[in-house]
């Protein structure tokens, strides 16, 4: 008890002292690492290719609509999917690559004790590593975002409208936090597993599960939990509703749906729409940005909240861990 009190008394001051030093150091490491270069090259290639193709299509088809910049992100031409299609699986890969050896890498290099011997709490270390990863992601995506805007301005010769910019800024935010989830997850595995390879594999496994299997599983689960016995419309509706709800547990679905709502202003609903709800509706008219945001607000806040919660979990795990080895 006395020891505990002594320990307690030593724990004073802000737990975040030295946080920004860690962030700066970690970002410097990230941005100069060979791993990052490869990923940057990959994403640059995809962005350049898809946007170029989209631009060609816009110009040849003479598309002149209100939201031409949004079309840069969403136009696809076989065999190349649209940029957003790539982002759904590229973003997790980058995030995992940034986070899978955050803690266990330090541990294995025996540098963790050395860092913690500095006047830095573990809190600041983990938080700093996470924020550095998030900032790196944000930096990379912002750079690509600006690059696409620049290409658009040169290629299309139209200035983007405020609605375009607003929607794409929110899209950027969603992308960063979609990456944030996978970053926090990879960091958690790096706390849990001592081997970086195991942590990477575990993260990839989760990613694969949500990318490939969860949709199938959601369908099967919905069928099992909400079987269609009499073929009533209500039953079919209920099952579809359940399947949709289950699918939304996947961050991929959340991100994909928020992209659809943000980049396609004419989308009015992401759920099931009854024909009666569309009676009298003027179809094809764009929603104002605020309404599109309301539509994906649960998705967006979900992505952010899950990112924070996974971070909290890894924080608790890290704090309780024995690191003197």
């Amino acid at each position: 008890m006395a020891l505990a009190e002594r320990v307690q008394s030593r724990r004073e001051g802000s737990p975040w002292t030295g946080l920004w030093a860690v962030v700066a150091k970690e970002m410097a490491d990230h941005l100069t690492s060979a791993r990052m270069r490869i990923l940057e090259f990959l994403i640059l290639l995809t962005a350049g290719g898809t946007v170029y193709v989209a631009m060609q299509q816009i110009r040849s088809a003479g598309i002149s609509e209100q939201f031409v910049y949004l079309r840069l992100f969403t136009l696809a031409q076989d065999p190349l999917p649209a940029l957003v299609g790539f982002l759904v699986f590229l973003v997790p890969l980058i995030a995992i690559a940034l986070g899978f050896d955050a803690v266990n890498g330090e541990f294995n290099r025996k540098t963790l004790s050395r860092i913690l011997s500095q006047p830095i709490y573990r809190d600041a270390l983990l938080m700093g590593k996470f924020l550095a990863g998030l900032f790196t992601l944000a930096l990379v995506f912002t750079a690509i975002w600006l690059l696409i805007f620049g290409m658009g301005m040169i290629g299309l010769g139209v200035a983007p409208g405020s609605e375009d910019v607003g929607r794409l800024l929110w899209f950027l935010l969603a992308t960063v936090f979609y990456g944030g989830i996978w970053l926090a997850l990879a960091q958690m595995f790096s706390v849990v597993f001592r081997q970086p390879a195991t942590a990477a594999l575990a993260s990839i496994a989760v990613w694969l599960f949500f990318t490939v299997f969860w949709e199938i599983l959601a369908g099967l689960l919905a069928q099992a939990l909400h079987p269609i016995q009499f073929g009533l419309a209500q039953e079919i509706l209920g099952q579809a509703q359940l399947q949709m709800t289950l699918e939304r547990f996947s961050p991929n679905t959340l991100y994909a749906e928020s992209m659809v709502a943000l980049l396609n202003p004419t989308v009015r609903s992401l759920g099931l729409v009854l024909p009666s709800q569309l009676q009298g509706a003027i179809l094809g008219t764009p929603l104002p940005l605020s309404q599109s945001l309301l539509l994906i607000w649960p998705h967006l806040t979900g992505l952010i909240a899950v990112t924070i919660l996974i971070f909290a979990l890894s924080y608790v795990l890290f704090q309780r861990q024995e690191i003197r080895a």
Partner: protein, 386 residues
């Protein structure tokens, strides 16, 4: 007595024989013949007349001399053939030669019957042709305009169309021109057949059926508008009075006070909109019923629900309470509002209603993030600073 009877009988016999034989004999055997198809004509004052004379011989080719031997005083006669003035013709047997005789009246001629005698002579043969010209005074030129329906009723924008008969009562062909004087706001056109005309030939004694169309190009007040149609040819003219009786008609228009037919409405919440019902017509509108066709599940209420009477040029502001369905999706919807007066056409206006969904769930999302941050803070408080 018996002798007398016998003499008469024989005379009759000879005469009848002579009659029966004579025409054939005369026709076939008269060595020189001068004929015309219509030896008697009627002409107007100061009008020339021409006869088509035919000369023929039966036995041998001859040169026939033609002469007008009897002519009323002051008249001139000209014989023409082959484009020249002639005196004689050369005729072969079995062939008929046509000669044109033209008679011109003197200037101060009186009406009456005049005799003309044409004589043809050749080698001692002689043929005469008496002609008769009756000069008659002509009917004075006169035009009449008439219609069966001089007054037509119509709405403030309808076209008034009158069937008018124009008759040239004189004996002269004339070219008539039409004109009309109408009150301001009317455009009058004349239609003959299917074409708009202002001037056309109308022959002597000819009747033409015209359509006079008066088209208002502004909305007319109720009342009677006189139209005057005049037809003129030289000094001759005739006119006809027509009436267009315009009855008033209410015309409604639906707008918003600021003219903007769009509004933003929160789903599940009642929002009042202003609707302006205006009578732009020329008669009061009565018993205007307001109705709407709205998307499923929406509630639309009017206040007031109906308007008793709306005088011409007046307007009334109606409050429309729109409540979208609770589960309405965000976006634009079409809301049609209607005003139906009794005895006139319904007017409708389409409102574009933008449905906004509640921001309540946005707050829930913020709370969710706050909870997540709270969890981190709790963890820091419990496990922090190691």
């Amino acid at each position: 007595m018996k002798r007398l009877v016998a003499l008469l009988m024989s005379l009759l016999l000879i005469f009848s024989l002579g009659v029966s034989i004579q025409p054939a004999h005369a026709q076939d055997t008269a060595p020189l013949k001068l004929t015309t198809t219509y030896p008697g004509v009627v002409v107007g004052l100061n009008e020339g007349v021409s006869f088509d004379l035919k000369v023929s011989v039966s036995d041998a080719p001859r040169i026939v001399k033609l002469e007008v031997t009897q002519l009323p005083e002051g008249w001139t006669a000209t014989l023409r053939g082959g484009g020249k003035t002639i005196q004689s013709v050369y005729v072969e047997p079995g062939k008929e030669v046509s000669v044109d005789l033209r008679l011109d009246q003197p200037k101060e001629v009186q009406s009456g019957t005049f005799n003309v005698l044409v004589t043809a002579s050749a080698d001692g043969l002689k043929a005469q042709l008496p002609l008769q010209v009756t000069v008659k005074e002509k009917q004075p030129a006169r035009l009449t305009l008439s219609t069966d329906l001089p007054t037509i009723k119509g709405g403030p924008t309808s076209t008034f169309s009158y069937d008018v008969t124009l008759k040239n009562e004189g004996d002269e062909d004339m070219i008539v021109s039409l004109s009309a004087s109408a009150p301001a706001g009317f455009q009058v056109t004349f239609r003959l057949g299917a074409q708009d005309v202002t001037s056309f030939p109308n022959n002597a004694r000819e009747t033409k059926r015209l359509t006079v169309r008066a088209e208002p190009y502004v909305q007319l007040e109720a009342g009677t508008y006189p139209l005057k149609v005049t037809v003129q040819s030289g000094e001759v003219q005739a006119s006809l009075d027509l009436n267009a009786e315009v009855t008033g008609q209410p015309t409604l228009s639906l707008t918003a006070p600021d003219g903007r037919l769009s509004a933003q409405v929160r789903s599940g919440r009642e929002t009042p909109l202003k609707l302006v019902v205006r009578n732009t017509g020329t008669a009061p509108a009565r018993g205007i019923k307001l109705s709407s066709s709205e998307p499923n599940g929406w509630k639309v209420a009017f206040e007031p629900e109906s308007i008793e009477e709306l005088a011409a040029g007046e307007e009334v502001t109606v409050t429309v309470k729109v409540k979208p369905a609770d589960n309405a999706l965000a976006g634009d919807y079409m809301l049609t509002l209607r005003a139906a007066p009794t005895g006139s056409s319904t007017k409708s206006a389409d409102f574009r209603i933008t449905v906004l969904t509640s921001t309540l769930w946005g707050l829930v999302g913020i709370v969710l993030i706050a909870v997540a941050v709270g969890v981190v803070l709790l963890a820091v408080m419990r496990f922090g600073r190691r």
